[in-house]
Symmetry: C2
Subunit: 587 residues, 2 copies
């Protein structure tokens, strides 16, 4: 060992001890007679002292060091005159007797501080330096802690962690697979799993009634700001259970994490909200319920008074912004601009101010009397001082726009506090989604998702109305996990494939091995997968998942540190029996 | 829940309770008046009883069921008349009142018993049925338990589990990479990691001084009997440590596993044996030290007596087989055949029998007097009744052949007991290996392995004599892990690259990003990786790793259940901008 202690553990109890420390130089302060060095390692920072009077040569040596040098010192722990209460080691310092440079450092391209001056690209290229900064280190420590606690909880519930293959088989539906040419089977390819979905169902058929895995998954999608081509799931499946067993078990997991990691004790069951309610009241299938401000439908109340826009709208709805009646013209305009952004897509916004004196002022005074507007305010539960914001148009689109406006108002009013966590289950999702372009139904979750029992007759009448035994866990407006009860009955599966427009042959071709397995005694089963990167970033209070991943890729799917992907040699390509197509015409 | 209890938990304490069980039918015995069903789940087997007199309809239903049907029953726990002490639930049975078929099963293609009649191929194709068998289930449970204990131990030692990317960069040295074409970066490829070696060293530069990961690694090699294209490593790295710190820490890990998993308490430090001694005394760098039977060199004692074969040999050595002096001609011939097999490669074998009456009989009586042979026997520590087996030839090859003969004798004498575990460290490996064909040195471990300090001057005189700070952990003749102290000093690294015949440019091209990182304050570091599949199979008492992996591939790298790898569609290939080369001439 190059050290007797870490840089995070020495306190007043150690005063007088001779210790050996090793680490990186965070900062050097030359005060003439004295030189101070902050020595850093993973565990903390300890102040080193060099005294010009006592040992001028050593002090000169110390002054000649640079940031991020790796050094080893031997010295004696002493009480500090100016204690630093923000440091765990802030009561002591080390009077250095011996100094050894283990490795010098070039000048880092950005500062290794909590707030750095490095741009995104530079920090990704020098990820090993960025990872030295406290915020990133704390994220990775949190991720480690959470992974251990996930395992501790699930192991305690008799779940078995089983590794499934990374070299899988290409699946035809859904997002694009990453593929791997097989040298031993020329012309054939493995695919990297988008999730171990089929294999975990296979494991249920195999009798492993409680499976989990913290596992890498892969999707070759065009990357949005916060997607990664490889990401990590907490993947779980159970047999001989129905929906409620899953909800209780995995609510337990999330409660365990909140308790052990954040010290937050959720003693009540999580709220369960139907997809229909989530859309109607929050305009989203992942409602942020840290604040109320529910959407109120005003369609019947607002139509037929001669205001053309409303009269033509399929849907009219509003949200009540508490205490915002005094919003200025400028503020209202800003909100109007917000809802008119292409991502939100509203054509305009109507407001009704319920002023503190009880009077009403609105942008549609011409069309509605105060009494008529008062009915809306009442419906929205508005009180004097409140502001009612109203959108109209096609039902679904308007609800989503209202949902976004609600989140924007939540932000403006400081109602989305980072240290408040509001988890809930969203349930009863639609089983099928109609695709206008393809003129067919798609499975909203996946083709093995079970319908709600009482909705099964709807396969023959109105498949779009069938609710699925699917569930999402949502925390603070973020979908952290989701899953479903699976179909384990042959007949029901056939009905489902029929609804999806699959012939028996197509179903056989695409899901043959799973359907095959189901012939040999498939138990009832259900599962869930949590986005682990997302869950950690939520616990870390971050918007993005990038900084809870040690070595993330950028939006072009590149690892800037490794400079990957990269070109292969001709010899490598020949051995794999593949050719890169460079001629556009061949594509 | 479809059950109130599992099939493994009901005992006399539950007698009289009404319970609901669900599981698979292991066996049906129709005894006329009574029908018995063994109901199986992951946790055990419980006997169900159907009584013709009490409920003939239910009993008829039960008789009509088949093996591997999934059923649910409600019944009352009763004491059994004929108790089965081999079953945890053997004291009780369930008097069934209600029976529900959850799912029927086709007739399995092989029996789901501890000893099955299914061939290897069939069992891999129907892996979900094979995984129902106890031996495989116990392997996966063991694997789960071991993974959890590995994490518990390392977490307790302040190691952090950090996930490194699966989409990595192709590395030029060593085994072949699996590669992944990047759609977003046409013509470029990711590579799947053969190990996270460079990234874990990067993490040390980043200050994460105790890293581990249980991680999938990939090698596109032609598969020998017991290799898999994807395998799992316990990958570890530490900073500010030297060799002994690593040995102590990871000896601790293995001791923890033996204690918690097998109840075996290793209180003494593991033996450490130099590579030179391992080769000289055991003819192997992974000696099985469950038994002694060390190789004894006889070169100087046996040469110059006119026996041509010995006189011309570079090396002569033997092993003493205790109590085997009475081996018949046939037995000796069999051993001679064994050493002459191409894998062993000896041209013949000489024996000296030290008979119980003290007389000596050998295959070379013509050339040596009894007194001369007695000197050999003494050197080998032979006693009356023992048998000395002697091979000769080129030194290294003969030692390896003797090593194999030693293992063979160990097997024959029952000295390699499966429930005895004999771990040791092999240390002081050569740093470099000379490749005759390429006329250059290769790194025996990898190019960042540090030499033993006192051997550094040998870079200028005899590089092949340099010992590495490398170490392997060997248990019962199986290498379960290995690693090294890494070079963290620029000058030493340059010397190493020079010895390997790399120009500065080549080194930069191949290891640029790591060498770049090393400029910014690299700490001294060292690491190790354990083959997790191998370790589990050792604990399971298995020869092969295949049955400790849920979904292994066969020797052609195929997953027979998924029928993977498989062909892609033209559309997929076009999108990836690659073409499969089918014309032999283009290869």
């Amino acid at each position: 060992m190059y050290r007797t202690h870490t840089c995070g553990e020495l306190t007043m109890k150690n005063v007088g001890q001779q210790v050996t420390l090793a680490g990186w130089i965070q900062r050097i302060r030359n005060l003439g007679g004295m030189t101070f060095i902050d020595l850093r390692d993973r565990y903390g920072i300890t102040q080193l002292v060099f005294n010009m009077e006592k040992n001028s040569q050593l002090c000169e040596e110390a002054r000649a060091l640079g940031r991020e040098y790796v050094i080893q010192v031997i010295g004696t722990v002493a009480e500090r005159e100016n204690k630093n209460p923000r440091l765990a080691t802030g009561d002591i310092e080390i009077l250095v007797e011996t100094l050894k440079i283990i490795n010098p450092s070039a000048i880092p391209p950005f500062t290794i501080e909590d707030e750095t001056d490095g741009g995104e690209e530079l920090r990704m290229k020098y990820r090993y330096l960025d990872l030295r900064r406290n915020p990133l280190k704390n994220n990775l420590l949190l991720r480690h802690r959470m992974a251990q606690e996930v395992r501790r909880y699930l192991d305690g519930q008799q779940f078995i962690e089983i590794e499934t293959p990374v070299l899988m088989k290409s699946t035809p539906e859904g997002a694009r697979d990453f593929v791997v040419p097989s040298r031993m089977n020329p012309g054939q390819f493995y695919a990297l799993p988008q999730s171990p979905q089929t294999l975990k169902q296979i494991l249920m058929v195999a009798g492993y009634d409680r499976y989990f895995q913290i596992v890498k998954c892969f999707r070759d999608e065009d990357l949005r700001a916060d997607r990664q081509p490889e990401f990590t799931q907490i993947d779980c499946e159970m047999s001989f259970v129905d929906r409620d067993d899953i909800l209780v078990t995995f609510e337990g997991l999330i409660k365990h994490l909140f308790k052990t990691i954040k010290g937050i004790d959720f003693t009540e069951p999580f709220q369960r909200m139907s997809y229909a309610d989530a859309m109607a009241y929050f305009g989203s299938d992942k409602p942020d319920i840290r604040f109320d401000m529910k959407i109120v439908e005003l369609t019947s109340k607002a139509k037929g008074k001669g205001f053309g826009i409303f009269d033509q709208a399929e849907y009219i709805g509003g949200i009540n912004a508490t205490g915002c009646a005094d919003y200025s013209r400028k503020e209202i305009d800003a909100l109007t601009e917000f809802v008119k952004r292409p991502q939100i897509g509203a054509s305009g916004m109507v407001y009704v101010k319920y002023q503190s004196d009880g009077s009403i002022k609105s942008s549609i005074d011409k069309f509605y009397t105060a009494d008529e507007l008062r009915i809306w305010l009442e419906a929205a539960g508005a009180k004097p001082g409140d502001l009612l914001l109203i959108l109209s148009g096609a039902r679904e689109k308007t609800l989503k726009a209202l949902g976004n406006l609600r989140l924007e108002m939540g932000d403006r009013l400081g109602l989305r506090k980072q240290d408040i966590y509001a988890p809930l289950w969203v349930i009863d999702f639609p089983l099928l989604e109609w695709d206008e372009e393809m003129q067919r139904y798609f499975a909203m979750h996946h083709p093995f998702t079970a319908p709600v029992d009482e909705d099964i007759p709807l396969f023959n009448t109105d498949p779009s109305k069938i609710r699925a035994k699917a569930y999402d866990m949502v925390i603070n407006g973020v979908e952290v996990g989701g899953g479903s009860v699976r179909i384990h009955q042959k007949d029901l599966q056939a009905k489902m494939f029929e609804a999806l427009g699959f012939t028996r042959e197509e179903a056989e071709y695409q899901f043959g091995f799973l359907m095959n397995a189901f012939q040999y005694g498939a138990p009832p089963h259900a599962g869930i997968a949590f986005g682990f990167d997302r869950l950690v970033s939520l616990f870390a209070g971050l918007e993005s998942i990038r900084d809870v991943i040690a070595f993330p890729k950028n939006n072009a799917g590149r690892d800037l540190m490794l400079d990957s992907p990269s070109y292969l040699t001709e010899a490598q390509l020949n051995e794999l029996r593949i050719k890169v197509v460079t001629d556009e015409k061949n594509c």
